[in-house]
């Protein structure tokens, strides 16, 4: 499966269905199955930007980067769950949360915002709503790249993000403030720029290159929906 080539709606359907199934199916087997699928998805080609961060990489290594991101993001949840619950409950909830985290991380890596906008506009959605959704998904890599630039700048000034806890905390403080302030500042300018480029409520945008939506993918999306409904029905009735 190549995440980057699937229709954006299919990617969204998969990323939505997996967490839904994780919570609907009986624990821990249901959560284990969905978590395994979600984690395997993070290894699929196209799930990660290339080394330059600008293209879609068919390589294996970037996939590992996405897997690592998913695992590292999910790990703190396991820790907190273990502090609050017994082991069986921790495993049950932890697997579900891992499914949610891995699905989202995979979606962010695999879904190209421009394709999502084109697909939504072609499907008759408002362009501003489509942009809002796509911009939310693209915010993570944008902030990551900005954080990397700020860390590089701090390094040039002699502040290393490595070392003991005290040094790391100092580096974190030096990173957080400019990251938040620059992001807030950019929001204003971006709003002005988008307005002047015609992205205003109520527009009817012309789709330039809507991604193809093969019948098999449409069928797969319906199948995912039916699978969720069926699992829900079996669980509670």
């Amino acid at each position: 499966m190549t995440g980057g080539r699937l229709h954006p709606f299919t990617l969204l359907a998969i990323a939505g269905a997996l967490p839904a199934l994780a919570w609907i199916l009986p624990a821990p087997r249901g959560g284990a199955a969905t978590a395994a699928v979600a984690l395997v998805l993070t290894l699929t080609p196209g799930a990660s930007p290339g080394l330059t961060g600008t293209g879609v990489s068919p390589g294996w290594r970037p996939g590992l980067v996405v897997l690592r991101t998913a695992v590292l993001t999910a790990a703190p949840f396991w820790l907190f769950l273990l502090l609050l619950h017994d082991v069986p409950t921790t495993i049950a909830i932890g697997l579900r949360i891992t499914t949610m985290v891995a699905s989202f991380v995979w979606l962010v890596a695999a879904l190209q915002p421009a394709r999502l906008v084109e697909a939504m506009v072609a499907a008759g959605w408002s362009a501003s709503v489509a942009y809002l959704l796509a911009a939310t998904l693209s915010a993570v890599p944008v902030l990551k790249a900005r954080a990397r630039r700020i860390v590089d700048a701090q390094r040039c000034r002699g502040l290393s993000p490595r070392g003991g806890i005290a040094a790391r905390l100092r580096a974190l403080r030096a990173l957080a403030l400019p990251l938040v302030l620059s992001a807030l500042h950019e929001v204003d300018e971006r709003a002005l720029a988008l307005e002047t480029r015609g992205l205003v409520p109520g527009i009817r945008r012309t789709p330039l290159a809507p991604p193809p939506d093969p019948a098999v993918e449409q069928a797969a999306r319906w199948a995912l929906l039916l699978a969720c409904l069926f699992a829900l029905f079996r669980r509670f009735l």
Partner: protein, 258 residues
């Protein structure tokens, strides 16, 4: 024919007591290039936002006086990174983002985009990823993006800030061409040396108010030079202690010298 008319326009940003613009009256006609000059904080960028109908509609704040726009406007802001849509795989797609939002038919979008790319000499970069461009290249892409929307009133805020000397010269030629095609151009810039060849009129802003309006000769005015708003030639002439009126350009200086 007037494209933009401001009459006694004052503007306050949100949560500020003193206005960023004070009783500004200004007209920009079709086919005319008007340059806004002034020190930092003089109000040139704010005036452009008001002219573009972005202030107070998007920025918030309060506007008094009247602003009449006859044409659709497009504004080029000074930082290209925040103006990229972030939704384009290629430079062509980036330039097409605005025209597509206008709902134009595909063939018209393609025509305007190709034309804008040619005008900005961006055809060789058409298939490049916008994220891989330099600041100057991206600024040219943003300018092309605005021109591709075919606005009747084009507003530039420090458009040459990211450009090298050659690209800046090409931009000034393009601005004159836009005026020749009948567009109204309002330009805020600190590149004062370019204005004698680019601007039809110069508006000197000071503390949010219009201090003087005139031809580019204004930039050789003694008071303008005292305020740091003279061209390089006028400033050098002044610094060397030669008497006024100061020459505006090298050609003027040669005439005076002989």
């Amino acid at each position: 024919m007037r494209s933009l008319t401001l009459e006694g326009a004052s503007f306050w940003y949100p949560a500020t007591e003193s206005p960023a613009l004070r009783e500004v009256s200004l007209e920009v006609a079709q086919g005319e290039v008007v340059a806004l000059v002034g020190a930092l904080g003089a109000g040139a960028s704010t005036l452009l936002l008001v002219a573009a109908d972005l202030a107070p509609r998007v920025t918030g704040g309060r506007l008094t006086g009247s602003v009449a726009r006859r044409d659709r406007s497009g504004i080029v802001l000074p930082t290209p990174w925040t103006q990229a849509s972030g939704m384009a795989f290629t430079v062509w797609d980036e330039v097409a983002f605005g025209p597509a939002n206008l709902g134009w038919p595909t063939h018209e979008i393609a025509r305007q985009v190709d034309r804008a790319l040619e005008q900005l000499e961006l055809v060789p970069l058409a298939l490049r990823d916008p994220a891989s461009l330099s600041g100057g290249e991206l600024q040219r892409v943003i300018i092309a993006s605005i021109l591709a929307m075919d606005p009747g009133l084009v507003l530039f805020d420090e458009p040459a800030a990211e450009l090298d000397a050659e690209a800046a010269r090409a931009l000034w030629r393009l601005i004159r061409l836009q005026a020749k095609e009948g567009k109204a151009v309002l330009l805020a810039t600190s590149a004062l040396d370019a204005l004698p060849d680019v601007a039809d009129r110069v508006v000197w802003l000071e503390d949010g108010a219009v201090r003087a309006v005139g031809t580019p000769e204004l930039l050789a005015d003694v008071a303008a030079c005292d305020a740091g708003l003279g061209t390089s030639v006028a400033s050098v002439w002044r610094a060397s202690g030669l008497p006024g009126p100061y020459p505006l350009t090298v050609a003027h200086a040669l005439q005076r010298w002989r």
